[in-house]
Symmetry: C2
Subunit: 396 residues, 2 copies
């Protein structure tokens, strides 16, 4: 259990951490020997005073009460949380939260934005730990992790979105955790329409532990395994066998946004740039005419290192159109039709054009920190887009 | 009733609309004769198809259902909304919603951000209308307003924040509406700690109606008055008699951020810049050393016109320090001590320094659209800041 915010996305991963199932321990060795981090998943942070005293508008001093009273983190497993509309499912180890899509969580097309969805995944993951009774102070660490100075870092995240919920829609978000190799954890999510039961979105992520002081990846101590392993189940929201390596882009990339500077409001508790900001930076490189007619249907993120408040960031983006035209990467969609083009039949050509029109568009992304000598990778990404469903005027 | 998002903050107000109680009708005349708008509170917008059909990951076509089923807007007054955790209060006309502060709604100091608070005010206002049975399609307009092609526009907003809720804290947000002159509406809010009952924040806002097509301010038709007037109460969250006119800044302002360009994700349903973005642009002009040590305790916004996606915006900001030093604007805090300075008593000087150290800091703000010949005002603002309460390390 013990998850996790992807607000604290990780530190330097010099090797890919995504195919952890088989090679996890080997990777951990490599990581521990080569890792260089400037990041922090949960380093000491400053918060409001435990006993906030201040002056009201009427001038008298008032003690607002300690954070304990105000936050009320459970010390034992809870089965139901009426305030968060959460409950424990999956035979006692999963978590389900009912959420209404709020007016400010939707974009110009009245559907939930990707940022809102990523935020809700973070929120439900943390509330799962909240319900477990394992949550210590901090963002998702268990009591055993705090005793061992360990924090969670995310190495990989994948989200597939078939439908975007609309303003006022009630959705159920299920989340659960599983083992990932010997020392990692997988966290999955499903977002479902409450009214119809349809699955709107699926997501999976991989997490490892890092020592807060040494900044080195860590094996999972027995004490922590005893806390989290009872929550592990095998169920997977997304089949893992389709993982493809994300290529590293360079200065030849078609779209490049340079000189991106984090703003104050982009920073999280550790003064590091929030993960959702990463995704915004990635998507802002995509041309407007694509964004207008398409919606994101999938995103994969591979985290390498964090980004601090003084870093200058570059967002690189490369479309995979050419590969599609050559039938390399979309066999299910276009290969057969494209192979038929030599027949020069107008039916086939029309079919191929229709297919190309409807094909998903894919982009490869890279966020990097601009350095004097070299650029350090923050995160590699891949996005997949499909045409928006025809819109109709909203007014009656 | 019939409120209102401040996502759609208004169109050109060439005169101040805030002191509406007495002079409302006279102002309306002026506004109607002089107004020039480029904005829209609710012009025809595009949304997802009413019957969204698409292909699932398994390939079969699935109809997700109409927006009616998905949104489920009540056609009659509801007293309780279990999904939104809302209920009707104040003898049947007010609305209270219980809200948990989410992990992504807090900033670096683990307290709710101003943006989150503004978003929650918008959300509860809309949910109030939702519960009323008056909500038509669109963002807060009643059925009668839609029949008359009317939309709400906000002219003024004031928020006072004594305490910022923290991550995981449960708060109750109360909201209600009242008359503002003959043709306007006031909407107020209170944010309260559920655990202790302490009031954390208060807010008030003023709204008028505008014809969606002619872009002219409108009187409230009898049909609409019959809908909303039964919801009006006299109660006020903030006493209005302390209203001060906000001065208009010019190019002599101490801090100026130029060339601000709306991004895609800053735009709302009408392709206009969201109100929360306005506030971010305002606050980003304030120097970091002030933002680090202080928290916003009050903000007043006077809306003049909207900002579109192609506008280039300038954010101007001027501190009121000098006035404070001269004892002009903070009589309650410093005047007596400063008057005593001529005595050159070290006690008095120390006292004065302590007072200056603890005094609220005030800034005047202006957002304007850079034009070739002239700059058009979007919104004037005033912010007030107090020193942050001493922080303690979060880790145990």
């Amino acid at each position: 259990m013990g998850a996790i915010t992807f607000s604290y996305p990780a530190s330097t991963f010099l090797v890919r951490c995504c195919s952890m199932k088989e090679n996890h321990d080997q990777h951990m060795q490599q990581l521990n020997s080569s890792i260089r981090t400037n990041g922090s998943f949960r380093s000491p942070v400053k918060v409001e005073s435990l006993s906030q005293t201040a002056t009201t508008t009427f001038g008298q001093a008032v003690t607002i009460g300690g954070n304990g009273l105000r936050q009320n983190i459970p010390t034992k497993k809870q089965l139901v949380d009426p305030h968060r509309q959460g409950l424990i499912i999956e035979g006692g180890v999963g978590y389900r939260q009912t959420v209404v899509i709020r007016s400010y969580e939707v974009g110009a097309d009245k559907t939930a934005t990707l940022e809102s969805i990523l935020n809700l995944l973070q929120e439900t993951a943390l509330n799962h730990v909240w319900m477990s009774g394992l949550l210590s102070d901090g963002f998702g660490a268990t009591h055993g992790m705090v005793r061992n100075d360990l924090i969670w870092v995310v190495s990989r995240m994948q989200v597939l979105i078939d439908y975007y919920p609309i303003w006022g829609e009630v959705v159920e978000i299920d989340t659960w955790v599983g083992a990932s190799g010997k020392n990692g954890m997988r966290r999955d999510w499903l977002i479902r329409s409450q009214a119809t039961g349809h699955i709107f979105a699926r997501a999976t992520s991989t997490w490892v532990m890092m020592n807060r002081k040494t900044r080195r990846l860590s094996k999972m101590p027995e004490e922590v395994r005893a806390e989290v392993a009872p929550w592990f189940i095998e169920k997977q929201a997304i089949k893992e066998d389709a993982q493809e390596k994300i290529a590293k882009l360079d200065k030849e990339a078609k779209y490049i946004n340079s000189d991106l500077k984090p703003k104050r409001s982009d920073l999280d508790m550790n003064q590091h740039v929030n993960n959702v900001k990463y995704v915004k930076w990635m998507l802002e490189t995509i041309p407007d005419h694509i964004l207008e007619g398409h919606q994101l249907s999938g995103i994969t993120l591979e985290y390498r290192r964090e980004c601090g408040s003084s870093d200058i960031v570059q967002s690189l983006c490369e479309p995979e159109d050419d590969e599609i035209l050559h039938g390399v990467v979309e066999p299910d969609y276009c290969t057969n039709l494209l192979n038929g083009l030599s027949l020069a039949s107008s039916d086939v050509i029309n079919g191929a054009l229709t297919c190309l029109e409807q094909r998903p568009i894919r982009y490869t992304h890279l966020l990097q920190i601009k350095g004097e000598k070299q650029n350090d990778e923050i995160v590699r990404g891949r996005t997949r887009w499909k045409r928006k469903i025809t819109t109709v005027p909203f007014s009656t």
